[in-house]
Structures are given as structure tokens and as C-alpha cells.
């Protein structure tokens, strides 16, 4: 049985198309992916992302546990800030990626991907026991609704809906405020390459807050095309601990790795940084007709050297784009490669995974 977000009935009544993703039934398309995508690039759109997990870590050792289980630093981090990080195993292989919020000196909320909340809750609890740390770990996934309001007009829209003044909130900062009286966490973060907010509110206030943030409703389809144009990794698709094991350096998120801290996987990642990653996440732009898709081989000098992990027709560029991994020596932008689509090699070139410049 798939889990349902608090607004399941509202979405169904609106005529949205719903799919199962990460164990949740979520809207994938409200109007059309192209229209929703364009709204976010040009104006503003709102996504229901209540399938994302929420885990609260609180107590004297909360910062220590967060730091030791993610690649980024939580100890020196100021209250009121958000940070992106990977969650790695002993070998530095990414199990998931996350954003965490420092709510207080001794209190964090972190956001595992859809379907990873129970796994991460267990991982946090087991390591807390193993290391004898003093903090509570609470899986609050079914207590929170989460909406992403994204696009150039999104900051003003959220500012207008909130009862507090938000205009001073910088990127990767958040405030605890209210929308029509409902307590919200309003974070200047996102997954589209555009400016905007991610808004967390209690499950029971989901309807009120969704209604107050009026703009183009967008489904997971547009969320996917937007993040692909921005070269953002999708957990489980662009990396997977068994099917496609990758490190943060291979995934080009070294900015979220703080080797000065002690975390699970740190030593393996320090070695990899020293030696240089063997493969790198790149963009692949097709020069012939066709669309690169997950699992299609990337060919260089007649040999299969990698695989596409995500691909689509870019709605912004009107061109087919792909993301995937190639050996580091092939990763230079401009390198001629090919993508094999249904047995036929289509000419392509390596590009930066950031196809569309964003914030």
C-alpha cells in the first residue's frame, strides 16, 4: 500500500495525474509538464513534496551525530541555516543525500529522500547506540507536509503569504514563521535551479498553507525536468548504493563534503580526493535526434565507457539532454561521445551537468 500525502484528495479532485514514487502516491502532472516547467523558470510554481522524509534529532549530542553521519559539518553550523550533504557508507558510497536544518543549538531536522526515512531513522539510532551519544531521533515524516515554491516570483509570493518579513532570508537560510496562523519552517532552498522556498508545515495545516501559496501547481514530472537541467542528482536514479555505487566526488558534490570532520566514509573520500575520482558525473548533449534515457550506454572511441542515469527533452532548451558518469579522462566538456539508443549510436558531446544556469 502506497503512502498518501495529506492533500491526496485535493490533488485527485484537481484532476492531477498521480504515480507511485518512493512508496508514495504523488501528483506527477497537473496540467502539462511543459507548462509547469515554464511557470517555474519564468514565474512561480508550487510542488507537493510531502513524500520527502523528516527526521528530528535533538539533544546534547545532536550536532555530533549529524556530523558523523553526513558528509557536511553540523557542529560549526549556525542556527537558522540549512546544509546539503551526502550520507555515505564506510567506502564513501552515497546511500542518500539530504538537506538538514539547524533549528537550535541542540536540535536538527533532516530531509531524507522519499522512501528512505525509515532506513535513515534506523541508521541514526544504531549509530547513536554504537557511539553512546545522547540525543533523540524521531521520524516525523507523517507529521509534516512539504511544499516547494520555486521560480523568480516565488520569494515575493512566499513573503506575501507569510505573517513575518522574509525578505532578509538568504539562500540556505530558514525562518520559523506562520502562514495564516499555521506554524511553518520557511527555507530558502530548492531543487529546480530557481530561487524560492521550501515550506514545511504540520500535516493538519496542509490544506491551509497550500491554499495560501497560490501559483501554478506542478507535479513530479516538472520537478524532474527542472532538476535535470540544473544537473542535480536524484537519489536512487543518479546514484544507488548497489546498482550504481557512487561517491560524492564522482557525483560532483564535493562542495558538500567537509573532510575536516570525522564522518562515516571520510577516510575513503580523503583517499579518493588525493588520487582523483576515476569517473565523473557529466552532462551529455545529443547532436542528433533522440532522447537519452536512464540505462543507455555512453560510447567513446568505439567502447562503452559509461551510462546515462537521467535524460529528457529539455523544455527550456528544446534539446535532448542527459546526465551520467564517464571516466575522468572523458569528462572534459566538448569531448565527442555517443549515446546508444535502441542499438544506434547518436553523436553527442560532454557538457557541464548544469545545462541551465540558476541561482
Amino acid at each position: 500500500m502506497a503512502r498518501n500525502p495529506p492533500l491526496a484528495a485535493t490533488h485527485e479532485a484537481s484532476g492531477a495525474r498521480v504515480i507511485e514514487f518512493g512508496g508514495w502516491d504523488m501528483p506527477v502532472e497537473f496540467d502539462s509538464i511543459k507548462e509547469e516547467h515554464a511557470a517555474v523558470r519564468e514565474e512561480a510554481g508550487i510542488f507537493d513534496v510531502s513524500h520527502m522524509g523528516e527526521i528530528r534529532v535533538s539533544g546534547p549530542d545532536a550536532a555530533a551525530l549529524m556530523t558523523r553521519l553526513t558528509t557536511n559539518d553540523a557542529v560549526e553550523m549556525p542556527v537558522g541555516r540549512a546544509r546539503y550533504a551526502a550520507i555515505t557508507d564506510d567506502e564513501g558510497i552515497m546511500l542518500d543525500d539530504t538537506v538538514f536544518y539547524r533549528l537550535g543549538e541542540e536540535e536538527f531536522l533532516f530531509i531524507p529522500n522519499a522512501g528512505h526515512d525509515e532506513e535513515m531513522e534506523s541508521r541514526w539510532v544504531e549509530h547513536r547506540e554504537e557511539w553512546g551519544l545522547d540525543c533523540d531521533v524521531e521520524n516525523e515524516t507523517e507529521g509534516w507536509a512539504m511544499y516547494a515554491v520555486q521560480g523568480p516570483e516565488a520569494p515575493a509570493l512566499v513573503d506575501g503569504a507569510a505573517d513575518e518579513e522574509l525578505s532578509e532570508t538568504s539562500r540556505f537560510a530558514f525562518v520559523e514563521g506562520t502562514i495564516e496562523g499555521a506554524d511553518c519552517l520557511l527555507a530558502r532552498t530548492g531543487y529546480t535551479g530557481e530561487d524560492g522556498y521550501e515550506v514545511l508545515c504540520p500535516w493538519d495545516d496542509a490544506e491551509t498553507v497550500w491554499g495560501a501559496l497560490e501559483c501554478q501547481p506542478c507535479g513530479l514530472g516538472a520537478r524532474d525536468t527542472l532538476r535535470m537541467e540544473s544537473g542535480f542528482l536524484l537519489s536512487g536514479q543518479d546514484f544507488h548504493p548497489t546498482e550504481n555505487p557512487r561517491t560524492p566526488f564522482q557525483g560532483r558534490i564535493g562542495f558538500a563534503v567537509d573532510l575536516e570532520t570525522e564522518f562515516v566514509g571520510r577516510d575513503a573520500l580523503a583517499r579518493e580526493r588525493e588520487e582523483g575520482p576515476a569517473a565523473l558525473f557529466v552532462g551529455v548533449a545529443l547532436e542528433e535526434r533522440g532522447i537519452p534515457r536512464h540505462g543507455y550506454p555512453i560510447v567513446h572511441d568505439g567502447a562503452d565507457v559509461g551510462e546515462v542515469t537521467s535524460g529528457t527533452m529539455s523544455p527550456t532548451l528544446g534539446e535532448p539532454i542527459g546526465l551520467g558518469y564517464v571516466p575522468s579522462e572523458v569528462a572534459e566538456p566538448g569531448t565527442e561521445v555517443a549515446v546508444r539508443i535502441r542499438g544506434e549510436e547518436k553523436r553527442a558531446r560532454v557538457e557541464s551537468p548544469r545545462f541551465v544556469e540558476g541561482v
Partner: protein, 127 residues
């Protein structure tokens, strides 16, 4: 939601329509199919002169989110290919029974059309 199904055509269960005119069958996908796919962004079609078999894949249609095979409603030889949909795949969404057609087939055996669904039967299938 209700979908348009013109009464002068026959339909394969996998949502390809066939419109017969003097031994030639024009083929496309139904209004229902284009709506299910969403924004069509790529269509791959056979070359003129290729042989196709009934219920065999003859091409591919891709929307932003999905890749789907196209199946031939009848056997025969491809006699025309709609180049316009290769350049403007959105024609499949905008006009699935008109400008968004895919190929024309010189039919081997006109009786094969009898195996296809009537517009009424197809309407029930997608209801």
C-alpha cells in the same frame, strides 16, 4: 474525461488508429493515447518501403516522461511517412487524428482491419 474517437476509423488495443482509403491505411495514435503520454517530444518512424506486420512495433513515440513503442494496426508496406511530426512532435498532441498522423501502409490483406476495435468498442476499452 471524454476523448474524441472519429467514427471512420478502427483502433488497435494498444491505441493506434487506422483509417482505410482505397487499400491504403493511415496510422496514428488516439486522442486518449496522446493525453496519457503528455507532451510528445520525439517520434521515430520507419522509412518508406519498409515492411510492417500487424501488432508489430514500427516506431517509437516519446513524451517528456515516457518511451512507448508504436504498433502497426495492419501488415503491409510503408508507403508514406509524416515528416512533419519528426520536426514538430507536438502535432501528435494538438491534432492526433489529423496533422499528427504517423505513417501510411499499403495493406497486404484488408481483412486484417476486421480484427481491430470499432470506435464504440475502443470507447468502452478506455472508459
Amino acid at each position: 474525461m471524454s476523448f474524441e474517437i472519429p467514427d471512420d476509423l478502427r483502433v488497435l488495443e494498444s491505441h493506434e488508429w487506422a483509417r482505410e482509403d482505397d487499400g491504403t491505411v493511415r496510422v496514428g495514435i488516439t486522442d486518449f493515447a496522446q493525453d496519457e503520454l503528455g507532451d510528445v517530444v520525439f517520434v521515430e518512424l520507419p522509412a518508406e518501403g519498409e515492411e510492417v506486420g500487424q501488432e508489430e512495433a514500427f516506431g517509437v513515440v516519446e513524451s517528456i516522461k515516457a518511451v512507448s513503442d508504436l504498433y502497426a494496426p495492419v501488415s503491409g508496406t510503408v508507403s508514406a511517412v509524416n515528416e512533419a511530426v519528426a520536426d514538430q512532435p507536438e502535432l501528435v498532441n494538438d491534432d492526433p487524428y489529423g496533422e499528427g498522423w504517423m505513417i501510411e501502409i499499403d495493406v497486404d490483406d484488408p481483412d486484417e482491419l476486421d480484427a481491430l476495435l470499432s470506435p464504440e468498442a475502443y470507447g468502452e476499452q478506455i472508459a
